[in-house]
């Protein structure tokens, strides 16, 4: 018995000991200042943190942040759940998060360190002019990074994306899905229930694609639809070609909002979307409906009666009643009714990465082929991380012998009008696109780090280091994802690393006016996650019986709601504006 007890005790001690061994540092942290970093494991990419940390460690190998310690060790945790809500009891120092709650909100709770010193310090030089991180941040965006009391910076923009569509350029070329220029000789008229349009049958000296939204020939948007009507004709032609127009992951029906947001912004334009944030200017609001259809061939979408109203903070509700939002909602309803969403969008088991894989492997498998993918602009990086790009390359090599094939898919600027085709600009200039920032996320330092002495200095130094022009450029080169609220150049060696799709995003973004979900008025700031165009107000419609739907598509599919009904229940009426107005 005694012997058994001894063996048991020895085993227990060994187990405990092993546990402690696990706690010990299996890294080169000894004698160095350790800073603990949490980074979100998502589509934006996360490996840049590790690379950046290595460079920072090397740079500070002889720096002493704490008495008796030399050098820095960055202890990084990559996780799907950055768990910011437990920050006030956590030992983590720096967070690179995924979430909409702003440094303005978190600093109110006292969870963050004031980083005003490192944000306003000049750290970069461009053409002889010195820049601080604050100088790189979009002016409209600064306020949500600052505390409402002292106006100091408590966080930085981390990662975000544009909402919209990616189209399969290879399929568009093979199936002749580009609109023809009016003077093209090689074109064929296509009659659809929604109208007729000329599609290019061959691209040569006398035949070119239409000028696209920017109104200039020879740019990336040539041949793409410029109005909703053209997009509808295109969808009909896509179906005829054996493809299904759109896909979004069945397991994430909320992704339809990415299409909705992108479409709304594009149709409304920069000024009108901003008027919903700044509460200035005029907007066209829906005040009723005509008894005639909005589109030919579609008898279930009525033409709206439009009235122009001036928006102010006291009458901000007008910005929730805009006609462009109705158009965007109508288009989603049309997509559902006309069968333009892929079969996989009905399967709740289909993940976002599986949907990316289906899109990438169009024609290489027996599964339905998808012409356009509804996703955020970061998606290709995520598809690479999850092996979907590799899968495509393996399949492609098996079937064609081509090794490491680069998939030609590209970002699509969305239509800017209901039925007016954009014509060539005579002044040689380009019309600008309107993009909207979705999925804002932030980086900040935990307030508890203040109690760690020199560790706080190391944290501030590391955070500042990751926002130097050089590091931001390397981040872009590694993941192809740009933080839209920051302006910085990308070095040639980094931009050369971008793939075909990522280059298409950057090229489009260079010609786009970006609407960032921020404003300096208290009404918008208080209800930012509700009133921004990707906000809850517009994406969680409630029907007349009080039944709540999580997404627009579920309201249409499950609730049988129409665009008119969704519009009506999600707009803020004058009588209800009091809940929002902070004047």
């Amino acid at each position: 018995m005694k012997k058994t007890n001894k063996i048991l005790a020895a085993l227990l001690s060994l187990t405990m000991g092993l546990g402690f061994v696990g706690c010990g540092s299996g890294n080169d942290a000894s004698g160095k200042t350790t800073i603990k970093v949490v980074a979100y494991e998502g589509g934006y990419g996360y490996n840049w943190v590790k690379e950046s940390a290595k460079r920072f460690e090397a740079l500070n190998a002889t720096t002493s942040f704490e008495k008796g310690k030399t050098g820095v060790y960055v202890d990084i945790k990559i996780t799907k759940d950055t768990d910011v809500e437990t920050m006030s009891s956590s030992a983590e120092d720096i967070y690179f998060t995924n979430g909409n709650a702003t440094p303005r909100d978190y600093s109110q709770k006292g969870w963050l360190v004031d980083i005003n010193d490192i944000v306003t310090e000049k750290i970069d030089t461009r053409d002889g002019v010195e820049y601080s991180i604050a100088d790189k941040i979009d002016e409209d965006y600064r306020v949500i990074l600052q505390n409402r009391g002292d106006g100091h910076y408590y966080g930085l923009p981390y990662a975000d994306y544009y909402s919209g569509l990616t189209y399969d350029e290879e399929a568009f070329t093979a199936k002749k899905l580009y609109f023809a220029a009016p003077d093209a000789t090689s074109k064929a008229a296509y009659n659809s229930p929604y109208g007729t349009a000329d599609f290019l049958t061959a691209e040569n000296e006398t035949s070119r694609k239409s000028c696209g939204i920017d109104g200039k020939y020879g740019t990336a948007d040539d041949g793409l639809p410029t109005s909703l009507q053209e997009l509808m004709i295109l969808c009909a032609k896509i179906k005829q070609s054996g493809y299904v127009p759109f896909a979004f992951p069945g397991g994430h029906a909320n992704y339809t909002s990415l299409f909705f947001e992108g479409l709304w912004a594009s149709l409304a334009g920069y000024e009108k979307i901003r008027s919903g944030y700044d509460f200035t200017g005029t907007v066209d609001v829906v005040e009723g409906y005509e008894d005639e259809p909005l589109f030919s061939g579609i008898n279930y979408i009525r033409k709206p009666k439009i009235k122009t109203e001036t928006v102010s903070e006291a009458e901000g509700y007008y910005s929730t009643q805009t006609v462009e939002r109705y158009y965007a909602l109508s288009f989603i309803q049309i997509c559902q009714k006309e069968g333009w969403f892929a079969q996989l969008t009905n399967d709740t088991n289909v993940s976002h990465t599986a949907t990316m894989g289906r899109f990438l492997t169009n024609g290489l498998t027996s599964q339905e082929k998808v012409a356009m993918l509804i996703e955020g602009s970061y998606w290709y990086n995520e598809a690479s991380d999850y092996g979907e790009v590799k899968k495509y390359q393996v399949l492609k090599e098996k079937q064609t012998g081509e090794k490491k094939a680069e998939r030609k898919v590209a970002w699509m600027p969305l239509p800017v009008s209901v039925n007016e085709t954009v014509e060539e600009r005579t002044d040689g200039g380009r019309n600008r696109y309107t993009f909207t920032q979705s999925g804002s996320s932030f980086a900040f330092i935990n307030a508890r780090t203040k109690n760690k002495g020199g560790v706080l200095d190391a944290c501030k130094a590391f955070l500042q280091f990751t926002y130097t022009d050089e590091e931001l450029s390397k981040r872009v080169g590694m993941h192809g994802v740009y933080c839209t609220a920051l302006s910085h150049s990308v070095a040639e060696e980094d931009s050369n690393k971008l793939n075909y799709f990522q280059r298409s995003v950057f090229e489009a973004a260079e010609n786009a006016d970006l609407v960032l979900p921020s404003a300096s008025n208290e009404t918008f700031l208080t209800a930012r996650t509700t009133l921004s165009i990707g906000g809850k107000r517009y994406l969680q419609p409630i029907d007349t019986d009080g039944r709540e739907y999580t997404t627009i598509i579920s309201a249409i599919r499950s609730g049988g709601l129409t665009a008119e009904e969704i519009m009506n229940v999600t707009m803020v009426k004058a009588a209800d504006w009091g809940a929002y107005y902070q004047g």
Partner: protein, 308 residues
Amino acid sequence: MAEKRNRLHHRRDRSKKIFFAIMVALPLLQFAVMYVGVNANSFIMAFQHYENAASGKGFDITFAGIDNFQEAWTLLSEKSYMLEISLTGFLVTMFISYPLALIFSFYIYKKYPFSGFFKTVLFLPQIISSLIFSTLFKYMVGTVYTELTGAAMGFLSDPDTTFGTVLFFNVWVSFGINVLMFSNAMGNIDESVVESAQLDGVNIIQEFFHITIPSAWPTVVSCTIITVAGIFTNQMYLYDLFGDGGKFEIASIGYFLYQKASIADMVKTPTEPSMGILSALGLIFTFILVPTSMLLKKLLTKLGPSVD
């Protein structure tokens, strides 16, 4: 000598007490923080109103009176369909899950053919995480079903079948544990009572209704009380099946509360209730459920079948 023995005894007694104190300290502390503390905090918050302090740090907290309760009641009235869904879930448990489980438990208790096999098969899923179970279920009624039949949508995607499928999953996933509880209760029935009844000529149906059910009645009562107490917290496996971005159109009150509590903040926003309002909602549920559960227990015990 006696004094030495006494001292030794005393020391042992003290050691035992110290050991006991050490052993219960942690659970007691956990109970104090996680139950007493959390509930007390929730009670206090139900009467508090939070506003962001103008200084930019912290909150201005004021006494809210019954404001949070009024807002909670309005919220509940607006979501009356969720109440219907919760009650439907409750009724399905009471009138489909439990009767089915009772009949099957009786089959196992009577050791009819393959009863041992069924018992094992039914219990096995209970040791598997419900998330794994729900993932398998989703594939069966989704991808597998559409691949095999060529149907356009799976049962969980088709709006006409979504809620029915959720209810079926609830019955299915809880079936094993219910059978286990009822068959264990039936296993304690005195064999002599059954033998005596059989000698008196009772058939199997009479035995089920006049001996088995009355004998297992205390377990049935306990299960009923637990089910009633859980009406407002039962998520009906909606999180397992649909995750965070779940289907609000078929949300139960429990699922709704979970979703809202996970995103709620101290300060109310135009679209989201504050922690204070959710705390008040929790208290309203307590006010409804405590007397209901007690009354029900009394009624079921008094009016329920007796083996006599």
